[in-house]
């Protein structure tokens, strides 16, 4: 289901790193030896077997990250991102695998367009890429795509991300059919009749600044609808980019009631509130919008207790000239692949709000589990998908420092702590700082 360009497994010894793999129950200093791209030894001291040795003393070695929500803009907006640049950005952010959304131009709604993407990924992708296909043709919300054929052609899951599936009847049919495809539906929950013309969260900030409000209930209403349908049809579903406390509460209740539902949250919703919109900077404009402090707190609680299993960047590159516009005229979306770990480490882990092990789990095992992908792990016999983290290193986010083709980051100019030192993907080095 995942595609990456041809690479030869390396021989390598990583010496003296603090190995953190919460799923394997490891947090101690170890050497790791990789033979032909496969982890051959994890021990206090390993024989080098004449492999190249990387001194990782003082660094953290963890399973590489998996991002379940990326926009690669290909086909159609290759000026904003390509598979080559987007996956290079992912490697620089410590990711070994990403899932790409189908809201491209054309939309990924046929086996032919999907097949072309898979071919490109096999030539260009620096990290493993999986592709989602659309739930409805052209994402128009009217007719289902040929989901079984798309699944056979390699679709990892299905999503109309960017727009909701407005019709409850159609959503029900899609859920019923997922028993045939064996693939998840990943849902962008938004009741559009409540968000028409809106740009920011409806609350004190929108009222003061004059923006048309995008209320929390526009998300939670659709979350409740889709969870009810999933329960009724006894099918799993995944909720994309959750932003509102009420949505989190609904997900928690559904999970407790046995619904197979999962959720994800973005770094920006974990770190920012709508207060940031006062800057009128188009780089804090995204859908769903930044919400209130109580929402941010609820998202963080849910991430901690596992109600939300995955962190997703919703990496959404946009051309500079399109973002350099008045807030209302600018498109929704921000980049995130190259800053996700560092900003969450800086703002949440270092300030004691989130344990490092939880952050690592929610950025690797969590998303892999939701989509049935091979879990990156630090264990003998596993293909090496690893990231080496320099937790003490400070660096500044700069427009000229991105591998992504776009620079619409909300963190431009910020100094972050925690740098990716090395990313190993499918047994070979994909990024080295």
């Amino acid at each position: 289901m995942l595609h990456v360009k041809e690479r030869t497994g390396e021989n390598l010894v990583l010496r003296g790193a603090r190995v953190v793999d919460p799923t394997e129950g490891i947090d101690r200093t170890h050497d790791v030896r990789i033979d032909n791209g496969v982890i051959a030894a994890v021990a206090e001291q390993v024989d080098t077997n004449e492999h190249r040795v990387v001194d990782a003393t003082g660094l953290v070695l963890a399973p590489a990250f998996v991002d379940p929500h990326v926009h690669l803009r290909t086909p159609g907006r290759e000026d904003e991102e390509t598979i080559a640049t987007g996956t290079a950005a992912a490697a620089a952010g410590g990711f070994c695998a990403i899932l790409a959304m189908p809201n491209t131009n054309p939309v990924i709604d046929s086996a032919a367009t999907l097949g072309a993407l898979v071919e490109t990924a096999r030539r260009e992708a620096e990290v493993q890429v999986g592709f989602l296909a659309a739930i409805t043709r052209r994402q128009h919300g009217e007719e289902l795509t040929e989901m079984a054929e798309l699944a056979d052609a390699g679709a990892v899951a299905f999503s109309d991300d960017g727009v909701p599936v407005a019709s409850a009847g159609l959503m029900r049919r899609a859920l019923q059919y997922s028993s045939v495809t064996g693939r998840q539906l990943a849902l962008h929950c938004e009741e559009s009749s409540l968000t028409h013309g809106s740009h920011v969260h409806e609350g004190a900030v929108s009222a003061e600044l004059g923006f048309a409000g995008y209320p929390s209930v526009a998300e939670s209403l659709m979350v409740e609808r889709d969870l009810a349908l999933a329960a009724y049809e006894n099918q799993p579903l995944h909720l994309l980019h959750l932003s509102a406390a009420e949505s989190v509460a609904a997900l928690r209740r559904a999970r407790e009631a046995g619904v197979r539902a999962s959720g994800e949250v973005t770094p920006h919703h974990l770190v920012l509130t709508d207060d940031a919109v006062r800057s009128l900077d188009a780089n804090v404009k995204m859908n769903p919008p930044l919400r209130a402090e109580r929402d941010r707190a609820a998202l963080l609680d849910a991430l901690r207790d596992g109600t939300i299993e995955a962190i997703a960047t919703d990496h959404a590159p946009h051309a500079r000239h399109e973002k350099e516009a008045p807030f209302e005229a600018a498109p929704f979306g921000v980049t995130g692949l190259e800053t996700a770990f560092a900003v969450l480490y800086t703002r949440l882990v270092r300030s004691g709000l989130l344990p490092l092990a939880t952050l690592v789990e929610r950025m690797s095992t969590g998303p892999a589990r939701i989509f049935g992908l091979d879990r990156p792990r630090v264990a003998v016999g596993a293909t090496a998908n690893l990231v080496l983290l320099d937790l003490d290193r400070e660096w500044q986010v700069r427009a000229d420092g991105f591998r992504s083709r776009s620079t619409n980051s909300w963190l431009l100019g910020e100094t972050l702590t925690g740098e990716i030192a090395l990313t190993i993907v499918s047994g070979a080095t994909a990024y080295i700082r």
């Binding site: 609350g203 009222a207 003061e208 600044l209 008045p326 005229a329 100019g413």
Partner: protein, 328 residues
């Protein structure tokens, strides 16, 4: 001396050196408002003379960049600049390269190449003035950005209230109508807070912004307690069929329209214009002796003179300033 603060974008690296802008009432302190109103009074005195032109801003270039139609604001900014001897240039989006799809940034860069001292901008999008401030070296004055702010309107309304009622502190103003879409109301709410005017917002429920930190009611009878009733324009273009903010303009007029019967005798009425007579305001009210609408327009000229003068000089105002202006 206090100054009009620069809006700082904390998410971006520091920009060019501080310039004085008037982007939002939220950037002002009470001292700023008092200084501006004082300057406006000084300029009003100068307009009583036979020769009305002052040499104060001679050699300065003021560009008016208007992306939305406007009568009062654009004419009063242009006249204000001329009364202060500045060179002026007015650009409307219709008939300019904007028609050809030029972006705001590119238009601003083009105008910026002429080194204007001030750019006065009106634009349908929130935050457009800030964008122009970011990409040019000019002092920016916001003449209305979308549903966000219209700071010079709020200042001229304060000036009008002070002239007509003799004070600001302790007054009670009811603002009636489409608060949700009103940049005038947003600027006024903040301006009233700064100078100690009590403010009650009155309108249909869907047109009262949820979450706004202000006294709000749907009950039109609440206006009776106010010293002044400030009537907002019902923006017909936003009231199209299907939007359902109110069932109809007819029902709005019947329920919230300002009629002589709803007013106390002698209660003053203001309106930022343009008026929809028969919708939000009864023509009898609009034409009554208690209407301050024409005073508002006259105030607009002197307040905009004061704003242009203040952003450009940041200097002292009052008698000394006028004397200095006459010497220059």
């Amino acid at each position: 001396m206090t100054s009009i603060r620069l809006v700082k974008d904390e998410l971006r690296p520091p920009g060019p050196p501080s310039r004085r802008h008037l982007l939002s009432i939220a950037d002002l302190e009470r001292d700023d408002v008092e200084r501006l109103l004082g300057a406006a009074r000084t300029f009003a005195a100068s307009l009583d003379r036979e020769l009305k032109k002052l040499p104060t801003l001679k050699g300065r270039l003021v560009v008016n960049l208007f992306y939305e139609s406007s009568t009062r604001t654009s004419s009063s900014f242009e006249l204000a600049a001329k009364r202060l001897s500045a060179d002026t240039m007015t650009l409307k989006s219709a008939g300019s390269s904007v028609d050809k799809g030029e972006s705001l940034k590119d238009t601003a860069l083009t105008l910026g190449a002429y080194d204007p001292d001030v750019i006065v901008i009106r634009h349908p999008h929130i935050g457009a003035p800030q964008l122009v401030a970011d990409v040019t070296g000019a002092h920016i004055v916001n003449a209305g950005d979308g549903t966000h702010q219209h700071p010079t309107q709020a200042l001229l309304d304060l000036y009008t209230l002070q002239q007509e009622l003799g004070r600001l502190e302790g007054l009670h103003v009811a603002i009636v109508g489409d608060i949700l879409h009103s940049r005038v109301a947003r600027s006024l709410v903040q301006a009233f807070k700064l100078v100690g005017v009590r403010c009650t917002l009155v309108g249909p429920p869907a047109l009262l912004p949820r979450g706004l930190d202000a006294e709000m009611t749907t009950d039109i009878d609440a206006i009776r307690a106010a010293d002044v009733v400030y009537v907002l324009r019902m923006q017909n273009e936003r009231m199209e069929a299907g939007a359902n903010y109110v069932p109809s303009l007819r029902e709005y007029a019947a329920r919230w329209g300002i009629t002589p019967e709803r007013l106390r005798p002698g209660q003053k009425v203001m309106h930022p214009g343009p008026m929809n007579r028969g919708v939000e305001i009864d023509p009898r009210v609009a034409d009554s002796a208690d209407s301050l609408v024409e005073t508002q327009v006259r105030s607009g000229l002197v307040v905009r003179m004061a704003v242009l003068y203040d952003v450009l000089t940041g200097g002292p105002v009052g008698v000394r300033a006028l004397a200095a202006a006459e010497v220059a």
